[in-house]
């Protein structure tokens, strides 16, 4: 009994801080969603009518789709690249590993606000590096306003997102590879397996738990990222980079419809919690 009380006392400081500044606001927001609001003031009880509005809200569905695409792109690009780079790097000298590991991770140390500004310049149609580089190699005609054209905006933005994330994947994979029993590789090499084969049949299968962990982490981040879009496109052009968090932000702060913004938040939380709950179970059984 006393040992249980001790345990509770140990958890208590973190729990109180967490509940006061994260838990309570979430409950409040959930309560907001049941009321109708006008410019930040409650005007009446709304029941579930805010939730019924989701069906007709085409921006919500567009945003949800973009989050979905972002999840897929993140799993496809930074994660795969991270795995590939880590596998190559694992065979290099410790010095190379340290230097390149640092270089790859460097973008993650840059605040997203600043990353957004820098990449905004790179993509700038007037003076950006992207168009300038295309001009240099004689492909100027391919240049454009990368973040401002419907066909490229989301993908151009994802290149920025990947830029801040792939180094993290490299480091995690690298640590996992270094934990693999080297004798497995030696055995494979004796069998005459090429690098590609060793990659495919030793590294990839043994890193499955790491991949699941990173995938889960990446998917959660892909559902809740905000700063990057807000400082670059604010969801534009049109609705082409709108994501759930920007839709929530606009509904809260600009329209002042707290009830519906809260509804969107609740739905977002429910989606991510469900998906990650299921994945977490998968992860633990793997």
């Amino acid at each position: 009994m006393t040992s249980q009380r001790t345990a509770i006392l140990f958890v208590l400081p973190a729990l109180v801080l967490y509940l006061a500044f994260v838990g309570l606001p979430i409950l409040q927001v959930a309560a907001y969603s049941l009321f109708s609001w006008d410019n930040g003031s409650v005007t009446g009880f709304a029941g579930l009518s805010n939730f019924a509005r989701l069906i007709d809200d085409s921006v919500f569905w567009t945003a949800l789709g973009h989050n979905g695409i972002w999840v897929v792109l993140t799993l496809a690009f930074p994660l795969m690249i991270g795995l590939l780079l880590a596998s190559i790097l694992a065979e290099c000298s410790p010095r190379t590993i340290r230097i390149l590991g640092a270089i790859y991770f460097l973008p993650r140390t840059i605040p997203l606000v600043v990353a957004g500004i820098i990449w905004g310049w790179i993509y700038n149609p007037m003076f950006g590096l992207a168009n300038w580089a295309l001009d240099m190699v004689g492909l100027g005609a391919l240049g454009g306003a990368w973040l401002a054209e419907p066909s490229t905006a989301l993908y151009a933005l994802n290149v920025v997102g990947a830029w801040t994330f792939f180094g993290f994947c490299v480091l995690i994979y690298l640590a996992a590879i270094q934990a693999i029993d080297p004798s497995l590789y030696e055995a494979a090499q004796l069998d005459g397996a090429s690098w590609m084969k060793r990659f495919r049949f030793v590294t990839v299968p043994l890193l499955k738990p790491t991949t699941l962990f990173l995938g889960l982490y990446a998917a959660i981040e892909a559902m809740r990222f905000f700063d990057l879009v807000w400082v670059t496109t604010q969801g534009g052009p049109g609705y082409d980079t709108e994501v759930l968090t920007t839709h929530i932000y606009k509904t809260f702060f600009l329209v002042g419809d707290f009830g519906y913004a809260a509804t969107l938040s609740v739905v977002l939380l429910a989606i991510v919690l469900t998906v990650s709950g299921v994945s977490y179970r998968l992860l633990r059984s793997a």
């Binding site: 930040g40 700038n124 454009g144 534009g236 702060f253 329209v255």
Partner: protein, 430 residues
């Protein structure tokens, strides 16, 4: 640090004041967006006028907080929702948000003050914009005008004249383009610039009366005059009047393009007049866009951008002090300070006044032109539509000019959100 200390000192004076009402000092908390540089660079003028007005109004103390203009919309909304509304605030975008706060009873009606202080310089147009259901809620201050800035040197070099008709304007743009320059420097990454451009065009295809039939009547956005406006704006984009990738160019960058001599014109408001006049290394000129549709009178988009508003929750003595202070700020003798040091022209200032004051020639020229047509000047959609409609206007305009939505699709989307907003009681009513 000093400012914080001052605030604490004042807070303690407030405590004392509440105990000893006899020697009371009325403290008015003020939020404004006047920075020390950039678009709203009236910060130093603001400080000077606070000092002057505190002197003129013994017993009134102004506690100023500067909120960057890009965030003041959000900050004010949060403050209102948390019952922390500043006693006096200068926020944007004008009528579109003001109506919301009037509707929910968060800002105080000001009719008594309008009568007491005889704010006659604020004409019926501006009074209407700052009213909700017959009561006045805001005191507009900045006289914003929309016009066409042009590079006189470049016009001369290309042998161009200031256009008198819209057909001439189109011919000018075509010739500029042919000569390898950008006709109109324009960037819409920040999403709001195109709302001003469309507003200017709309007033010149539909006229003020035509706009009012939609904004205050039952007429639909889906009508020929509105369609012509959408088509005109879309054609500017399609015919290459704008620089490549304009939806990805910032407002400041577009201005830099014009100031750098690479574009012949830029269509924007008087709010950047000072930056333009100072930044131009060429002879800067201004003209008003000619009417686009047949039978529409000349005029331009005007508005106030921001307005003073007083919190409903403030004690009566504070409200009175705030109103007296605003009266001091917009008094005729202080207008000159705003113009000469604040780089903004207060509403009610006449072109004749400006001619005698120490300001740049381009400023005088712009206001002389824009104030010629007070009876036909028209609305700015950005500061007129309710926020829920503005949040549709922003993306839909990017789609329209980007060629991703047709004028009809644009108008249908606008009408849809307009209907919803009207049904919710969101539109402001003079």
């Amino acid at each position: 640090m000093k400012q914080r200390l001052k605030m604490r000192l004042v807070a303690s004076t407030m405590l004392v004041a509440s105990i000893v009402p006899a020697s009371a000092e009325t403290v008015v908390t003020q939020w404004d967006q006047f920075a020390t540089s950039g678009i709203t660079a009236a910060g130093p003028a603001m400080d000077e006028l606070i000092a002057a007005c505190e002197k003129a109004l013994p017993g009134t103390k102004i506690l100023r907080t500067v909120v960057p203009s890009i965030g003041i919309r959000e900050s004010y909304r949060l403050a209102v929702s948390a019952d922390k509304t500043p006693d006096l605030a200068y926020t944007w975008p004008a009528a579109s948000v003001l109506a919301g706060y009037a509707r929910t009873g968060k800002v105080a009606p000001l009719d008594a003050y309008y009568a007491k202080y005889k704010w006659d310089g604020i004409n019926d147009f501006y009074r209407g914009r700052n009213s909700y259901k017959g009561k006045l809620y805001g005191i507009p201050m900045e006289q914003d005008l929309m016009g066409v800035y042009y590079n006189r040197d470049l016009f001369k070099k290309l042998g161009l004249e200031v256009p008198k008709t819209y057909a001439e304007f189109q011919a000018v743009a075509a010739k500029v383009k042919e000569a390898g320059y950008v006709p109109i420097a324009f960037g819409n990454r920040d999403r709001w610039p195109a709302t001003n451009t469309l507003s200017l065009i709309l007033g010149l295809t539909a006229g003020r009366d035509g706009e009012e039939k939609v904004l205050f009547g039952d007429a639909s956005w889906n009508q020929p005059a509105f369609k012509q406006a959408a088509e005109t704006l879309a054609s500017w984009a399609k015919d290459g009047y704008f620089p490549r990738g304009f939806n990805g160019i910032g407002y400041d960058e577009a201005n830099a393009l014009f100031l750098g001599g690479r574009a012949a014109m830029t269509v924007t408001g008087s709010w950047v007049l000072q930056d333009m006049a100072r930044g131009a290394k060429f002879d800067l000129g201004v003209f008003m866009l000619p009417p686009i549709a047949e039978g529409i009178p000349a005029g331009t988009m005007w508005g106030e951008g921001s307005q003073w508003q007083i919190a409903a929750s403030a004690p009566d003595a504070t409200k009175d002090a705030a109103a007296a202070y605003v009266d001091c700020l917009i008094s005729p003798e202080h207008r000159q300070v705003w113009v000469e040091k604040g780089f903004l022209v207060p509403i009610g200032t006449k072109a004749e006044d400006l001619s005698g004051w120490n300001t740049l020639p381009a400023v005088k020229e712009f206001y002389a032109e824009g104030l010629k047509t007070p009876d036909t000047n028209f609305y700015d959609l950005h500061t007129t539509l309710p926020e829920s409609v503005t949040q549709v206007l922003y993306p839909e305009l990017q789609r329209l000019i980007g060629g991703d939505a047709t004028p009809d699709e644009f108008l249908t989307a606008m009408q849809q959100s307009w209907t919803k907003a009207v049904a919710n009681g969101e539109r402001w009513q003079p």
